[in-house]
Amino acid sequence: MAHMDEVRARLQDHSKGLLGRANVVATGAGYKIKSGKRTKKLSMVCSVAQKVPLESLAVSDRIPPEIDGVPTDVVETGVIRALATRTERQRPAPGGVSIGHRDITAGTLGCLVKKNGQVMILSNNHVLANSNDAQEGDPILQPGPIDGGKLPTDLIAELHEFVPISFGDPPPPSDCKFANGMIALLNAGCRVIGSRTRYSIHRIQAADNRVDAAIARPLKAADVNQDILEVGRIAGLGRGELGTQLQKSGRTTGFTRGEITQVAVTVDVSYGAGRVARFTDQLMAGAMSQGGDSGSAVLDGDKRLVGLLFAGSDNSTIINRIEHVFSALGLAL
């Protein structure tokens, strides 16, 4: 059997020649794999972009089973790329990388979804639609502007639709005199007959927010990727419950894990410049995000999509339920 020193020496002699053959992307020394199992035989390992039938290769491109008495092995690794960072331009762009409307800093490309059969990029309103201050068709850049994204080179999509965020303080109690008089009368009546029920009246208000969500239409299908960085493919839709294990992939903190610590959360979220929006039926997790992670797809342990990350503090992360996101925008996977 060949020793490591011998294999190394043979590699020095032959790696250039091997790398010149079709499909070979790397060479190295390693144990030969046979029927999926590691053997004790050291070999010269040729990594190939893809395995092809021997007959389809020119004789000069084939890897002989043995070179100068050292066995060879051929493994499929795919094309090897330098790992691009999340804040760089990526085509096709996967989930988990920097993206943003022309007028914002940057957020995260969540994942791909479908609207009426058309592929769309899903992220937050405040990432793709500048917190309501945007028009359908506005340019979306990957990476986002703060990461150097510029028009026209980094244009990846056009804003298609967003769910408006309603800002403002919760309304004060009604100041309608007639209504207040009626209520006083009813409550007096309740007291008289010994009932502990009391009526109260409120001005009708705009519904509380449930989602900070928007979709953008990629200009070219080839510019986007179904996968989410470091997570892979979404396995389906899930439902977040107390204790559900979470994973997300975001522009700033990359791949992180967490757990749902609260459900049915009503929360006041600051949007800067004194603007606050109240959200209901949210999920809360611990610290698993930072600024720039907004728009990240949140998946459970089985890679089912459960939410859309949009806010947080030093020790908490706030997530829209995916069922509300999908129903508000009419989406499917």
Partner: protein
């Protein structure tokens, strides 16, 4: 008109009475929904949700922007039988 108002009044008051008599135990979701507006109106309260207490039982969790002894002391410890606990979650910002 007078009789109409009186009839409406009696109908609603009686409704209040009967709702009072056969009372189902309220779920934690109902209790939270009933009280959250009032809790969120307290100084420094930024969130109200359903989590767990130290023993792992469902509890109403009130999130504070920072430690606020006065507000925290004034909050109820129990609502309709459900534990209420506070947690410092900090100011929540869009990311």
């Amino acid at each position: 008109m007078k009789y109409g108002v009186a009839a409406l009044f009696l109908f609603l008051a009686a409704g209040g009475l009967s709702a009072n008599e056969d009372r189902m135990p309220l779920t934690i979701e109902q209790v939270k929904a009933t009280h959250e507006r009032e809790l969120l109106a307290q100084p420094g309260v930024v969130s109200v949700g359903i989590g767990r207490d130290d023993q792992g039982r469902p509890a109403i969790v009130v999130g504070m922007d920072k430690p606020r002894p006065q507000t925290q002391a004034a909050l109820p410890r129990v609502l309709e039988g459900y534990t209420v606990r506070t947690e410092i979650v900090g100011t929540i910002r869009a990311r």
